[in-house]
Amino acid sequence: MGRYVARRLLQMIPVFIGTTLLIFLMVYALPGDPVRGLFGDKATTPSVIRALRHEYGLDKPVLVQYWDFMKGIVLHFDFGKQIASGRPVTEILGEAFPVTLRLASLAFVIEAVIGIVLGVVAGLRAGKAADTVILFFTLLLISVPVFVLGYILQTVFAINLGWLEPSVTDPTDFNQLLLPAIVLASASLAYVARLSRTSVAENLRADYMRTAIAKGLPRRRVVGVHLLRNSLIPVVTFLGTDLGALMGGAIVTEGIFNIHGVGGTIADSITRREGTTLVGLVTILVLVYLVCSLIVDLLYAVLDPRIRYA
């Protein structure tokens, strides 16, 4: 196990270099210039621009810029500075990340709990009315785009009915985050429900389920222990990678509900052509994602003893 974890951590290095380089090059390829963007419509002299470009190292060749950037990360844990405000990227992320973390965890809990419950109910009654209703409902969630769902829920539950807050003024208040979290969770929830439904319906026919019944176990135990332990293995995999994706922020949902999280910050940096900020942000997200997937893989071995890492 230890060796496996070490190997996986080492494997992260090339993945990390590859993704950051790719992002760096893609941002570089975008038209526009962050320094010119600073001045907006105001006129300025080429020498000022040149000086600023030199200050941020933007006049160097792209690979040298990349090298300097990576050196900063590795040696000083310095992810660069935001050009517009001059503040370090880590600080900006430090503000945005807790908001996203709260939103993501709330969405994750909703997704996991409701998704699995719906999936298990549907799977146990495969082919019956409850199953059809759940399948239809999840199909609806998958096919409706997030911004449509976001505005509909906002209008109905917050504005018309007044049950929930329409927008987030205090990102530490979970009551305000509830509605955006539901919107954020909706599509994944549908996938989780469908995945667990299929898995449950399939395992229900397994021989070991027959054995469990033949042992005279109560139904609660047959389903709760024998069925779920087997059925949730693929679901856990999906949930793990999805948690990584949720941590990456949600540009649309954050926009609708006025949340200043990671998604919004990334969107801002893209419009301002701020390569360093963007790369810094995304780099941290890549790390979060890699760690999430490592945890999922380890969890997988815990859930399924047939998988052994050596």
Binding site: A214, G216, L217, D304, R306
Partner: protein
């Protein structure tokens, strides 16, 4: 008239049913499956009984209804699609088909248990064998996790799994086929049930291991004086362990007999065919005998005797009239105890 209850010194005395009848008695059991294509009549009026300490072998091809009957006894048929339109399954005199689901659950595993064919898929792959064995004690006897584990180790010792203590936390896939089947047997034996149903317990094993597993099963059965229903299509397995045999075809019992009588003098052409198709060393080099044709489609069972399209002795009556399971007698009319056959021409078959 009084019945004298014999209080004997036989080890682990097991009383029969409350009415003094057999341990388990199946009466006129019918099972059908309602599918999109129609009604599949898997079991069509099966009667058999098992006493404590007795081994009944149920013999038949795939699809003859032997496993379905066993699953009906266990109460593990999926209903629907399965349906039991008529029949009785009396365990110690009580009809299990009229019991509540909870009463039946309490019988399963504790009083009647089952050994399945493929131990790898029948054991839960993500739970350790110790957990799966211990579950019996935890659920039925309310033992703690720790006590249950101790008992699980004892059980594994009981079925001769080497290094039981070290292997109790292993998972099913870490055991060999024979060892896995031993675990299945241990699980069925855990609560020392009155009756064990073994559904082709050795089919997935190689021949040497088959013999070991059968010996173990027979030994444990003798020791605990349990009833055993052994479902198999392997005539070789049956001869050594069974007391009596029921041969099934298309959901009916076509012949019933004490084990050695059946081998010596079959009274049904189907049984004869089965016996003839056992490869014999003294017939080396000759063509192997096979029963012509295929088992019937249970959606459309042939009229009359279901075996008639494949039977070498079939006459017109076989195509129109279903033969009843009747007692078989000697040529002079004297009784042959325990023997019955469902064939219009049993006399010709048995007496040649």
């Amino acid at each position: 008239m009084t019945t004298i209850q014999k209080v004997s010194a036989v080890p682990s005395p097991r009383d029969a049913g409350e009415d003094g009848g057999p341990l388990l008695e199946v009466r006129d059991l019918h099972v059908e499956f309602h599918t999109r294509d129609g009604v599949v009549k898997a079991v069509n009026g099966v009667n058999y009984s098992v006493n404590a300490g007795e081994t009944l072998a149920v013999l038949g091809e795939s699809g003859s209804g032997k496993s379905v009957t066993a699953q009906a006894i266990m109460g593990i048929l999926d209903m629907p699609p399965a349906k039991i339109p008529q029949g009785e399954i009396r365990f110690r005199g009580q009809d299990m088909l009229t019991m509540s689901a909870e009463e039946r659950r309490k019988i399963r595993g504790r009083r009647i248990s089952m050994i399945f064919q493929d131990a790898l898929s029948s054991l839960n792959p993500v739970l350790s064998v110790g957990y799966q064995l211990g579950e019996m004690f935890r659920v039925h006897q309310g033992l703690s996790k720790k006590e249950a584990k101790t008992r699980a180790v004892e059980l594994m010792d009981r079925v001769k799994i080497p290094a039981a203590k070290a292997r109790v936390d292993d998972y099913p896939h870490q055991f060999s086929g024979g060892m896995r089947q031993r675990i299945m047997i241990a699980m069925a034996l855990a609560l020392e049930p009155d009756l064990i149903i073994a559904d082709e317990p050795t089919t997935a094993l190689d021949v040497t291991v088959q013999a070991q597993v059968m010996d173990l099963l027979a030994e444990l059965q003798r020791e605990y004086n349990m009833g055993l229903i052994l479902i198999t299509h392997d005539l070789g397995v049956v001869a050594d362990v069974a007391d009596k045999i029921a041969v099934m075809y298309a959901g009916r019992i076509v012949e019933q007999a004490p084990v050695h009588d059946l081998y010596k003098r079959p009274a049904h052409p189907y049984t004869r065919g089965l016996l003839d198709s056992i490869p014999r060393l003294d017939h080396k080099g000759q063509e192997l005998f096979a029963i012509k044709g295929l088992p019937p489609n249970l959606l459309r069972i042939p009229s009359g005797c279901a075996f008639n399209p494949r039977c070498p002795k079939a006459q017109d009556i076989c195509r129109t009239q279903i033969p009843e399971l009747e007692p078989v007698t000697e040529r002079d009319g004297s009784e042959l105890p325990g023997r019955a056959a469902a064939c219009h021409f049993w006399k010709e078959t048995i007496h040649g």
